[in-house]
């Protein structure tokens, strides 16, 4: 606090007194339901949002009998290892499936980062015939209901013999329209055109400009797109349901789904499997939630 401010405060004692009064009034007002009730409702809603995650992790540490008892466990137990043992006994491929899910998500993310930034670079930095029409077309594809083509998609996969292979889940989603759009927005605001022109003057090839000039400048957008692609691909259930029929090629969501409704439901094992499937997402989210939320909504606002 500066000296002048101190002096000002010392001189204006009447004002300070009213200040104190207004603080009291503030406190009184805070006790009125119309003041605190909205906060309480927002917090209650937030609890409802988090509760399923909490119970998932709690149930993952309890045996089936404990979960089925009344009242159900509300705090962590000690049966986590047993649950995983049971899960592996029920589905020997479980860990393989988790690995497969992670691998597919990583590969799809790498491809998306490369292809989307390349496309976004072209849309942001070049003048070429049909550019605006092509871009409008790209945006329109985001509104197409993907489900309508589901059955021919499976037939196509069968024809090119991609059923039960990871390619079927990596390649079709290797360059998302959203990613190209996000990259175009970011590159046109973050990369100066003069820099690109100067590099071209100096004899840098077009791909060289992308690789040496643009890529090093778009780290934040790459981070956002990487998160979005990874989460989307990791959570892809319908795609896996359509193309994977052999147990060895099941991704984590498919294994979880296969545990459901086979005789007596093993809630402990299911919760443990669910928890381990969701864990990478929760970790990513805790680390990067702000960037993820901002990236996703930035795309929507500018569009």
């Amino acid at each position: 606090m500066s000296a002048t401010q101190l002096i000002a405060q010392a001189v204006t004692t009447p004002a300070a007194r009213t200040n104190q009064k207004s603080r009291q009034a503030k406190l009184l007002r805070a006790l009125k339901p119309s003041e605190w009730l909205p906060y309480a409702i927002v917090m209650l809603g937030a609890l409802i949002m988090l509760a399923p995650f909490y119970f998932m992790f709690v149930f993952a540490t309890h045996t089936n009998t404990e979960i089925l008892s009344v009242p159900p466990p509300l705090w962590f137990g000690s049966a986590l290892v047993d649950n995983f043992r049971e899960l592996v006994a029920l589905r020997p491929h479980f860990w393989h499936s988790v690995g497969l899910s992670l691998w597919i998500a990583a590969a799809a993310t790498a491809l998306n980062l490369f292809l989307c930034s390349l496309g976004g670079y072209a849309f942001a930095m070049y003048e070429f015939r049909g550019r605006d029409k092509l871009f409008a077309g790209l945006m329109a594809t985001m509104l197409l209901p993907a489900f309508v083509g589901m059955i021919p998609f499976v037939l196509l996969m069968k024809e090119i013999d991609w059923l039960n292979s990871t390619r079927a889940l990596i390649v079709p989603g290797a360059c998302s329209a959203f990613g190209v759009f996000l990259m175009r927005q970011y590159i046109s605001s973050a990369v100066p055109r003069e820099l690109v022109e100067a590099a071209r003057m100096d004899g840098c090839g077009e791909f060289g400009i992308y690789w040496r000039i643009v890529v090093p400048l778009i780290g934040p957008a790459m981070g956002t797109l990487g998160l979005v692609s990874f989460i989307g691909s990791y959570n892809n259930f319908v795609g896996a349901l359509l193309v994977m029929s052999q147990q060895e090629m099941f991704t984590a969501p498919l294994v979880l789904r296969s545990l459901q409704g086979t005789g007596q439901t093993q809630w402990g094992a299911i919760s443990a499997g669910s928890a381990i499937t969701v864990l990478p997402l929760v970790v990513i989210f805790i680390l990067y939630s702000r960037r993820l939320i901002e990236g996703l909504s930035a795309g929507a606002v500018k569009g």
Binding site: P38, V42, G45, I48, M49, P52, F55, F59, I67, L68, V70, P72, L115, C116, L118, G119, A122, Y126, F128, T141, L143, L144, P145, F147, G149, M150, I151, P152, F153, L155, P172, A174, C175, A177, V180, G205, E206, F207, Y234, N235, F237, A252, P253, L256, L259, I270, S271, G273, S274, T277, V278, L281, V282, F285, S289, I293, S297, A300, V301, G303
Partner: protein, 343 residues
């Protein structure tokens, strides 16, 4: 592109004129991956299903054995010929309609779509406004808590929900009956609101509400984030001017926020319509793929999956798919006309 590039045999003058500089050619190469992938894995299946919907075509027969069926598949799906049209205004007509697979699935899809979708927006808009105006330090954690459901694995979390909704040991029943039995000064103040006995959530009348709740739970935070990001673009001086003019918070919300949020509402509602009409994962997992007792939660997308890939009847499934497409297109257009109107 080969048509634009001059072949070597052409006269030098023309070749010079026609040859593209690398910066004229390369952008096409750079955007090509998206369009190649989209045409192959997106548009081709979409159009092929339109084509296939006019053929009778069984899984075992293969591509060579498609039989022209005309609009037969559509007629088979819609089954409108022998409906009791004369009793259109009585309940009998509608229960008869509900008994037909496609119409029941359509009804279920709309039921789930509206009951899960409408509250998403009715809650997300005020919630976003409240967070935007009232929260400072706690802002990001609160948003993150609401947003977390959006990024989780549907299969895992739907399985968790099905245990939470279990009749005898489910946490939700414990909470509800606990509140019902709550005793304050010798009376049960909440007994009228909450059940005394455990609710059997497995009964068919609860299936759709539970699915709707899960869908709502997953997407309300996403919509809140969309609206929040739009709120940040509204200039602050508008609110300041309104405050000077004596407008309260509710008036500011009604006359500044809501009109200026209209473009984002258009986008968010469009995304909800497109997503909800293709609803598949939540009801599929919750009902074990069957649609529940009496198929009360079987959506159009689930029916398409069942007819096409379980029964192997591709023609009929494609007709279902295209009927769904037409409904989505019509609703998107209608939404554009109402929310997107400029005045």
């Amino acid at each position: 592109m080969s048509a634009v590039l001059a072949p070597n045999g052409k006269p030098a003058k023309e070749r010079k004129r026609r040859r593209l500089k690398p910066w004229q050619l390369m952008p096409y190469v750079f955007v090509a991956p998206f369009f190649i992938l989209f045409l192959t894995f997106g548009l081709f299946p979409l159009l092929f299903s339109a084509y296939a919907s006019f053929f009778r075509w069984e899984l075992t027969a293969g591509l060579g054995n498609m039989k022209w069926e005309g609009l037969g598949n559509y007629a088979f799906v819609l089954q409108v010929n022998d409906l009791p049209w004369s009793r259109f205004f009585s309940g009998e007509f509608w229960s008869e309609l509900y008994a037909r697979d496609f119409w029941r699935a359509m009804y279920n899809t709309f039921w789930l779509g509206i009951v899960s979708g409408l509250p998403q927006h009715l809650i997300a808009v005020p919630l976003a406004f409240f967070i935007h105006t009232k929260f400072r330090r706690a802002r990001n954690p609160v948003i993150a808590m609401y947003f977390l459901p959006y990024i989780t694995n549907t299969v895992a979390i739907t399985l968790v929900f099905s245990s939470l909704f279990s009749r005898d040991f489910g946490v939700i029943n414990q909470v509800l009956t606990g509140l019902g039995h709550l005793e304050l000064f010798g009376i049960h103040p909440l007994a009228w609101l909450f059940p005394a006995q455990n609710v059997d959530w497995g009964r068919p009348e609860y299936t759709r509400p539970i699915v709707s709740f899960i869908v709502w739970w997953r997407f309300v935070g996403w919509n809140t984030v969309l609206y929040l990001s739009a709120l940040q673009t509204i200039p602050k001086d508008l609110y300041e001017a309104a405050t000077i003019d004596g407008a309260g918070l509710l008036q500011q919300f009604r006359y500044i926020t809501v009109p200026l949020l209209r473009p984002m509402m258009l986008l968010a509602v469009t995304l909800t319509i497109i997503g909800n009409l293709q609803l598949f994962e939540e009801p599929f997992i919750l009902t074990g793929g069957s649609g529940g007792v009496g198929q009360v939660a079987e959506t159009v997308a689930m029916q398409m999956y069942k007819v096409g890939l379980n029964d192997g009847d591709f023609g009929t499934a494609s007709a279902v798919a295209w009927l769904m497409f037409m409904v989505i297109a019509a609703l998107t257009w209608l939404n554009n006309r109402t929310l997107g109107r400029k005045d």
